[in-house]
């Protein structure tokens, strides 16, 4: 039989190619382009090779910021993932209460990010904010604008408040997908509550948790708006995370070359960590 070659298919995928080219490849290549040139104006641009990369990798400001960023993302995951699972396990499954709970849990997700920042900025103030006022009334010396630890705690708390619902909703949907027979079999096998969680619920939640962890890692690793509105990166540089450092460099100082190199490294870190995580998890399923 003769194989019929039909190249019409290329024509059909062309729009997608164009779309991806314009939305991803062209902007990315622009960044690559900036990162290897020293640009003065439209007519004066010089090729500098890897100079910006070397400069960026040696920049202590970036090192601090990166460390801070990893600490923040790690803290976010360490709190939000277990808490999200816990909330999902406690949410009612049937009846009116189930819908009410779903709506209540989803509310923080519906609030624009800068509004979240504003809410917490006011909420945390000792003079007019309930949270700040309560802590101060209890005799705590709380001030997110001047104390780095308080600032950190507030940013973290804000993120937990904002994003734990996402993890909870993902887990809730994952839990609902477990067939009743698993619980029945577990009962017959005399499994304890913990064993049911450990051997049925958690393994069945694995897929949604992978998505949850990846989303929360990437999002928290690129966090910008909320801490910017709440603390402006301060006090000092204590809550200046990577993306804010990058913005300062690119827009504040207009160092386009180093900023471009920084962006690419940033992008590669996110990609690498996500890939490592995903591969490790997938590897765990295989038989030795």
């Amino acid at each position: 039989m003769r194989k019929v070659e039909n190249n019409k298919a290329w024509l059909l995928v062309l729009p997608v190619f164009l779309l991806v080219a314009f939305s991803a490849i062209v902007p990315l290549m622009t960044v690559v382009n900036y990162s290897v040139q020293d640009i003065f104006d439209q007519n004066n641009a010089y090729f500098v090779g890897s100079e910006w990369y070397r400069e960026i990798l040696r920049d202590p400001r970036l090192h601090e910021s990166l460390l801070r960023q990893f600490m923040f993302s790690f803290a976010v995951l360490a709190i939000e993932i277990p808490l999200g699972i816990g909330i999902a396990l406690m949410m009612p499954t049937k009846g009116k209460m189930a819908s009410v709970c779903l709506i209540l849990v989803a509310i923080p997700l519906l609030i624009p990010w800068n509004v979240v920042g504003t809410i917490w900025q006011i909420f945390g103030r000792a003079d007019i904010g309930l949270f700040g006022w309560s802590l101060t009334s209890l005799g705590m010396d709380y001030n997110y604008a001047s104390n780095p630890i308080d600032a950190w705690a507030t940013v973290l708390l804000m993120d937990v408040w904002h994003w734990t619902p996402l993890v909870a909703l993902l887990c809730y949907s994952g839990l609902r997908a477990i067939p009743e027979a698993f619980y029945q079999a577990a009962r017959i096998d005399r499994a304890s509550k913990w064993a049911i969680f450990r051997h049925i619920q958690l393994p069945k939640l694995k897929n949604v948790l992978v998505i949850g962890v990846l989303l929360r890692f990437m999002d928290s690793f690129m966090i910008y708006t909320e801490p910017f509105v709440l603390t402006g990166g301060g006090p000092g540089n204590s809550t200046t995370f990577l993306s804010q450092t990058l913005t300062q460099m690119a827009i504040g100082q207009f160092d386009l070359g180093p900023a471009a190199a920084f962006s690419l490294i940033y992008f590669l870190i996110v990609l690498l960590v996500s890939w490592l995580f995903f591969t490790t998890i997938n590897h765990m399923d295989k038989d030795k």
């Binding site: 067939p179 079999a185 017959i188 096998d189 005399r190 499994a191 051997h199 958690l202 295989k286």
Partner: protein, 366 residues
């Protein structure tokens, strides 16, 4: 090991049942003897899974009692009834190895680890799972998973009964008979009461000593596969068992028998007496396609009919025959010459069954 006794058992999913149609299980009394294999057969929604879950304790009946060896177990939770249940979709603990899956119920009971190992190996050997013992359960095929799921029941000592809820649904056809064979073998080896829910009559008859055929929340017949075939005691049994099912038609009462479409069917004096005495208008006769005699030439007591069409199923032929308004099926041998056009059908009296209000009426001689 246990004898299971259902005593005026009934179950309704609604809180205030008003009529029989509110009951998933209508009041029933049955004894399931120790060490026998039973099939609960019936169409979807007839209450067979409900009944199974009541026996295992996953569901609490709204009325009546369940006794295991004369001990009432209504209030005993499933984990203390010492039963094993195998579900339609294989339930395995994905993250554990096959070994740990099988060991799980024992470890939950704090059985010493040396005994766990011995017992798991023994059961794995019987179920032919020893080669995959250290594989993750997640990576097994459906039939292996189903065996693991059964094995978790078998590892325990003194299992009262193993309950199967359509366990072969997701198994490939060529592995079905193999797994069924394994179930039988285990039944013989362990001498355990087994209850097997299915809607497949072939599965039921190959697996079970006795079949309980369920229809609308009731067990309409409880008997050996042969009894269900030869003497269906409800029209539904006739219709449900056999392929094609029993030929059944409504008839009217006449002085010496019954009548349909001007065709008179004489009855034995004993049966006729019962028919004449019954006030019911719901009278039916039925005969299995296997027992309808068809010939090309008129014979004594035969009715003239028309052969509509013939289906050759490879090992036998099914004829569709029009007798009055009654379209009935007859099975003839593959090699037999099938009549074309006009044919004569004969209903041997021992195979012609009479039903009043859907239930079989028998004269005492048969």
């Amino acid at each position: 090991m246990a004898e299971i006794h259902l005593k005026s058992l009934a179950h309704s999913y609604s809180k205030k049942p008003t009529g029989p149609s509110d009951y998933a299980i209508r009041e029933m009394n049955h004894v399931w003897e120790h060490g026998k294999a039973y099939a609960l057969l019936g169409p979807s929604g007839c209450g067979k899974s409900t009944l199974l879950n009541i026996i295992s304790g996953l569901l609490s009946p709204s009325g009546g009692e369940i006794l295991f060896d004369n001990v009432k177990v209504n209030d005993i939770p499933p984990e203390d009834r010492n039963i094993a249940q195998v579900f339609q979709f294989p339930v395995v603990y994905d993250s554990m190895t096959v070994f740990n899956n099988l060991a799980f119920p024992l470890r939950n009971q704090k059985v010493p680890e040396a005994k766990v190992t011995a017992k798991v190996n023994e059961i794995a050997e019987i179920l032919e799972l020893h080669n995959v013992l250290h594989k993750k359960a997640k990576n097994l095929t459906a039939d292996e998973k189903q065996k693991v799921s059964m094995g978790r029941g078998l590892v325990r000592d003194n299992v009262s009964a193993i309950l199967f809820d359509e366990p072969l649904t997701v198994i490939d056809p060529h592995l079905k008979w193999k797994l069924r064979r394994k179930l039988k073998q285990i039944h013989e080896q362990f001498n355990i009461t087994m209850v097997y829910v299915t809607h497949d009559q072939l599965e039921a008859s190959t697996f079970a000593d006795q079949i309980a055929l369920m229809y609308e929340g009731q067990i309409v017949q409880f008997g050996t596969p042969r009894e269900l075939f030869e003497k269906p005691n409800h029209t539904f049994v006739g219709y449900f068992i056999g392929s094609p099912g029993m030929n059944i038609t409504e008839v009217k009462r006449i002085p010496d028998g019954v009548l349909f479409d001007d065709i008179e069917v004489p009855l034995s004096p004993a049966l006729n007496e019962i028919v004449q005495a019954s006030p019911s208008k719901n009278i039916k006769i039925g005969i299995r396609p296997e027992f309808v005699r068809v010939s090309q030439d008129p014979t004594e007591g035969a009715y003239q009919a028309r052969v509509m069409y013939e289906e050759d199923l490879g090992t036998y032929k099914v004829l569709s025959i029009q007798l009055g308004q009654w379209e009935l099926k007859a099975i003839i041998e593959e090699n037999a010459v099938s009549p074309k056009g006009v044919a004569y059908v004969n209903f041997p009296s021992q195979w012609l069954k009479l039903y009043i209000d859907e239930y079989l009426v028998e004269d005492n001689q048969s």
